[in-house]
Amino acid sequence: MWKCFLSLFKKDCRMMMSGKFFLVAFCSLILYTLFINFGYVNFMDAKLYNVYLYDPEGTQREVSSLVHPVSSIEELDSVLAGDTNGVGIDASNGTPHVRFYEATEKADKHRVDYALSLLSMDENYTAETVGNYTTETKQRREITCELVFIEIVAVGFLGIASALFKEKQMGVIRVHAIMPLQKSLFVCSKIILFLLTDLIFATLMVLLNVGLDGVAVLPGVLVQTAILSLIMALAGFGCTMILRDFKQFSLAYLVIALFAATPVFLAANTSVKMAWIDYHPFYHVYMGLKNAFFGITTINPVYYIGAISAILLLFIFVEASFRKEMRREG
C-alpha cells in the first residue's frame, strides 16, 4: 500500500510542479510578506482623518499638532469640499461644533469622537488598554490570519481543481480503475499533498510575518489550518469530479468566494453583524484560525465534531464521485 501511495504522491508532486502550483504558492508567500511588512503595517499606522479647526478667538487650549487651523468659516467649508473624509470643527463661539460631509451614522460618530479627542490632549480621552499585543503585533496577526485563510480557500481550492481537471481531460483517472491499488489512495495522495503544502505555507507565513513570537501559536494555527485545508481540498476535489469543465468550476468558485468567504470576513473583521453568521460553517473555522493566531485555543467539542464530520462526509462524497468518474464513457 505504501509503495502505491508513494507512486501516486510522487506523480501528484510532478503534476503540481508542471502546473506551476508550487511557484504560484511561493509567489503568493513573497507577495503577502512584502505587503504585510512594507504595506499593511504602514497603512494601518496612517493618521485617520484630517481635522480642520476654525477658532478665531483661540478658545481651544490643548490642540493636537494633527489639527489644521483655518482662518474663516468659508475656508473650513472649502477644505471639507475638497477633503470629503476630513472633519471640520467650528469653535468660533467657544464651543466646538463638528461639521463634515455625511457618511454613515456609525462612521460619522467615530469621526466626531476622533476629532474632539484631538482638542483635548489630557488623559481623560485615552482608553485603558488590556492585552499583551502592541498595535503592530496585533495587526500582523490579524492580516496574516486573513491571508492564510484566503490562500487556502481560494488558491488551494483552485490549485486542486486545475491539477485534477488536467487528469480528467487526459482520461488517466479511468486507467486507475484497473490498477491494482486501493482507489481511495488516489484521493488521499492529493489531499495529503495539499494539506502539507498548506501547513508549510501557514508555517512560513507565521514565521515571516508574525515573527519568532509566532512559534508559540504555531501548533494551534496548524491544527486550524489543517481543518480548513482538508475541507477546501475535498470540496475542490468533489467539485472537479461532478462538474464538466473548468468553466463550470470557475462559476462554482465564484459562488464559494463570494457567498462563503465574503460574509465571514465582513462579520469577523468589521462592525457589520449578521444574525445568521453563527450558522455559517466557515465563520467558525475562520474564528478558530483567528483565535489560534492570538493564542486562544478553540476547545468547543461541537466545533471539532462538526469539522471531523464535515471532513468525513466530504471524503465519502469525493470517493463516490471519483468512482463515478472512473466509470464514465470516454
Partner: protein, 285 residues
Amino acid sequence: MRKMIEVKNLTFSYGKDKQALHGLNFNVEDGEIFGFLGPNGSGKSTTQKILTGILKGHGGEVSLFGKDLKEVHTQEFFQKIGVLFEFPYLYANLSAVDNLNYFASFYPEEQLRDVEELLTMLEVKKDFWKKPVSSYSKGMRQRVSMARALISNPKLLFLDEPTSGLDPAGAVLFRKIIGEERQKGTTVFLTTHNMLDADLLCDRVAFIAGGNIVALDTPGNLKEKNSDHRIVISYLYQGKREEQIMGTLELKDSMTFAYDEIISIHSQEPTLEDVFIQYTGRGLS
C-alpha cells in the same frame, strides 16, 4: 480447456428504462482470442467494463479465472489483467518512460516487463522515449498505451479497438504482438469494430446488437454457414474475358466450357461484415 471467462445470463441496466444488456451467455477459453463485435451502443463497452470490474451491479453469473466476479475484484485480480482502452489515456506532461514506470509501480516487480524492451517491441521511436507524450502522434500514443497494457505480463488482456489510430504498418505490428501474446498463453478479449482484426486474430467472435449476442462462432464457420457456396470463374476465351458463376459442388462437373486459360476463381464467401449485417440487419459503424 479451462474457462477464463464464463458468462451466464448477464444483464445490466443504467437506469429503470435503460437496459443495456439482456442476458448474455458466452465463455472464453484459456489462451483464446475472443472477439466481441458490435456497433456503437450495442453493449460492448458495458460488457467489458463489467468484466474488468469497473461497472458494478450486474445481474446473472459471471466468473473470471474460475471465480465469481464478485469475489475476484481484489488487487490480485487487477494484477492479472491488462486493459487497453479505446483512447490512449496517458499523462501528457510525462514521457513514455515516466508513464510506463508510473503505472508499472502498482504491480509486483517480479511480474513486470522491461520498459525499454516494450517500447522497442512496439517500435516507439527512441528519440521520443523521454519527451512528453503531448508531443506524440495519435499512433505513438496508442503504442505507448499498448505497452502500458502489456507491462504487467497479464494473463487476461482486454483490448478495446487496438488498431484504432494506427497506420497500416502499425496495425500489422499490433496484430503480430497480439498473436505473440496468444502464443505465450495470454487470453485476449478483443472488442472491436474492425472486421479485419477480428477475422485475422480471433479464434471465435460474438456479434452483439441491442444488448444481445446474435451469433457466436469461429470467423470461418460464420462465413461458411452464411455462404451461398458459389464461385466466380473468370477466363479468357478467344481473346475475350468471360465469367461463369456456379456452386462449388458443381465446379468439377461444370468445367465443360471451352477455355484457353483460367484467370481466376473466386469463391463468393461473404465477409465477416456481410455476416454481421445478415444477423443484425445493420452495419458496424
